[in-house]
Symmetry: D2
Subunit: 260 residues, 4 copies
């Protein structure tokens, strides 16, 4: 069964900015979706901020295996209810790939629990992403490093938790570095942050970047869902694995739900 | 300089429930504060939900080095603004010790990014906490394990991120286990989750539990603050560490702040 | 292509001890191999200590994708050269599953860098392994926990590095706990330590344990080899990604290998 | 009580190479020791390869809290017995700071369990080490980054396990990056790998590098020793925390030691 992949885009800069429109006339999501759509093991669709519920209804999310997230200018316009819904689905097993300026997306900050801040400079400088583990599935099909002639700089300190794996580290012409490919597991969901993508450069047209995105979708796909991941079931005394008898005082009546 | 330690309590069950009141007539916070107050290197105060801003004004938090958090019945009554404020201070370096039912406190879920769910049973059964690393500062002064004659059971799966360190694992009479002492770093802040504490048993009167709390305050104290942890400063071309010249198109005007 | 799976056994207790022989008349390796052999995606073979090079020649290891390791009584008789050879292959991408008493095998200590010590008791007590992440591939097809009526106890502290993931934690009837399923990545190789298996009980005949072993083989299989993982190539000035000129004094002549 | 700090050096290049001798006429260890010796909380001594037992007798190691390790040309001449002895002491709680080319020292490979390989170039290029967490004790007293005008390049992939914390990442003029400050915990011992130090440049005379070394000694110091860290004690049935009775067959006689 194919990986049901959804590419989400706030879709603002492509409409407002002439430079961005020339590079992504149909939106960044269209180019990313096209890069994935040729794969036999992926069913690819897109969604944008201006759709009802931002195109992220519960039904749609339940039918999504991996979500790619692009946002930059209007993070604040994403509804908190949708953010919680996406977070729930990640905990239940949906993969999430957060792109570039998405480091400040509500959903990324929600899942990281940290400020996700970093230093930045928009100077079109050269970036080189080094693969840290050549055997990682996300770096297959690209060389020891990926070179981008023009990129926005993001520099350390990058305020995220220590990752499960550091997959890429970027070198910048102007003298900075960034951990630019990072993996996390949150509940049943796998998360990959991938830095490249500033919209005034044709980064998602780059074949190596497209290869990484395809790899990342496959890596983030967890076929094993966990719908009840957030449940906090009571295990009554009579169903305890070992035979015990209740002792002492209790706050709860039998069968009562716990506090949240 | 002493560690400015603040013990926070929602302070509800002690007022409503006769069993709890007998064990903690002045509130759980009072017993915990007393356990810490004798230490020469700690300045100890308390705060409760019913105070203005829950006793957690920005000024108060700025003057706090380590915060201990007790909540159980009314997590939902803690204001979201205060939760964000506490999270900010943790990122800036304030230590946080989350106790027992605080696994479902807004502030803990906010910092973990996961559901923080678990299985539970209130049967007064025996618990034994095993120290995983005998050389960890948090387990000093107690034996290889701590035995509690009566405890509420919390069982795996416990939906938190993989910790920096697993400090304690609990064995329960009824057959379950839990990772019951876990450390995390988020920004400049150190976080310790410590499971014991159900309020119908005199757990915070236990000398070994008190020893762990004292150790945990010292461990969580980071004397190095990072007030600007959430800033995302622009580094203009002329201040790049290496001499570069701006190339290509740009979204931002010089001096403009980035998007959030 | 099938996963080339090799089950290694020191094969001593089954020959010397009447109790063990009755449970494993053809050796523990035979029962484990049979549990894997029915899988369409696995090619299963066995090797034992008494074979030339312990059945682990370089050619054989090069043709192995996942190695399962059983040893208990004669860890010291495994040749150091073979241990280094196995470690090399793990770094290059061969998966390794270390079983039960293999916690003290030379190869496990070699890859962990720690004493791998733990507390133990041989009393035939009940063990219950709790799955920590219900969405992990290794725990599929078994319930929330696996119960073994008779097991040797292994108790914390277990002196291994913090794992990538804690997959199982064991509860023991006698009151102890152990992190009994742990994952590690070392170079390109994935390592899974799995505790159950004491040879005086029919543990590898247990269908749930067999399911875990099959899952673990698939999890540990990394199709992406990294043969040159231990190389330390010189990158001469003229092949530096950025154009630079050599400055200052040097220890090495051009083209010289580095020190090891 | 002062931190008993021992600076170890193979002390070869300073004797054989004119360039190195000019920078470190009394040896690299002498300069590092001098950088530490002024601190009120440190007792500093040195040891070298050519001394009996390389200056690392068991008595000496038992009286050492933190060991700094410099080696480059003759890693192979360090006796395996001494390496095991140092590893034992790290497990028991001695801190270890591994410098520069020590990535290939036997003791570092022993504790990491990986090849510790990397790419390299000796061209005197510029290096800039970025602090990843500004609140980490190891980076106090230095700026957001440390700049070295001339350095040997070490480039990713660096074949070590995922660290507890990435403390520094280096940018190199020639286009590479390296995780150049990494922390690990192994048993009771804290380990810090710190990259700078090529001996044809005066790197250990740099005040910022000296500040990091002083910080690292304090960070690596664990006042809590664990002498019996490698013991594997039997817990007989009658001393089990819970009352149980032995069931089933056993390999071991009562009181017998376990296999190793």
């Amino acid at each position: 069964m194919a990986i049901r992949t959804l590419v989400w885009n706030e879709f603002v800069h492509e409409r407002e900015n002439e430079v961005v429109r020339k590079i992504y006339p149909d939106g960044i999501h269209a180019v990313i979706a096209a890069a994935l759509a040729g794969e036999a093991d992926m069913d690819v669709a897109t969604a944008t901020l201006d759709q009802p519920e931002h195109g992220l209804s519960r039904a749609r999310l339940n039918a999504t295996d991996v979500l790619l997230w692009w946002g930059h200018k209007v993070h604040g316009e994403v509804s908190d209810a949708v953010v919680e819904r996406v977070a729930d689905r990640v905990h239940q097993g949906m993969g999430l790939i957060v792109l570039h300026s998405g480091h400040f997306a509500k959903i990324f900050k929600r899942l990281m629990g940290t400020p996700c801040s970093l230093r930045w400079r928009e100077a079109g400088e050269r970036e080189r992403l080094w693969a840290i583990n050549r055997s990682h599935p996300i770096v297959q099909g690209v060389g020891p490093s990926i070179e981008l002639p023009n990129a926005e700089m993001y520099g350390e300190p990058f305020l995220v938790p220590e990752p499960m794996e550091t997959v890429f580290i970027s070198w910048f012409e102007g003298g900075e570095v960034l951990r630019s490919g990072l993996t996390y597991q949150r509940g049943a969901g796998r998360i990959f942050y991938f830095r490249p993508g500033h919209e005034t450069y044709p980064i998602y047209h780059n074949p190596e970047i497209q290869t990484v995105l395809r790899n990342a979708v496959r890596w983030a796909y967890n076929p094993i869902g966990w719908p009840e991941v957030a449940a906090a079931p009571n295990v009554p005394v009579e169903r305890a694995p070992e035979k015990i008898e209740a002792k002492g005082a209790a706050l709860h009546q039998a069968g009562e739900a716990g506090y949240r």
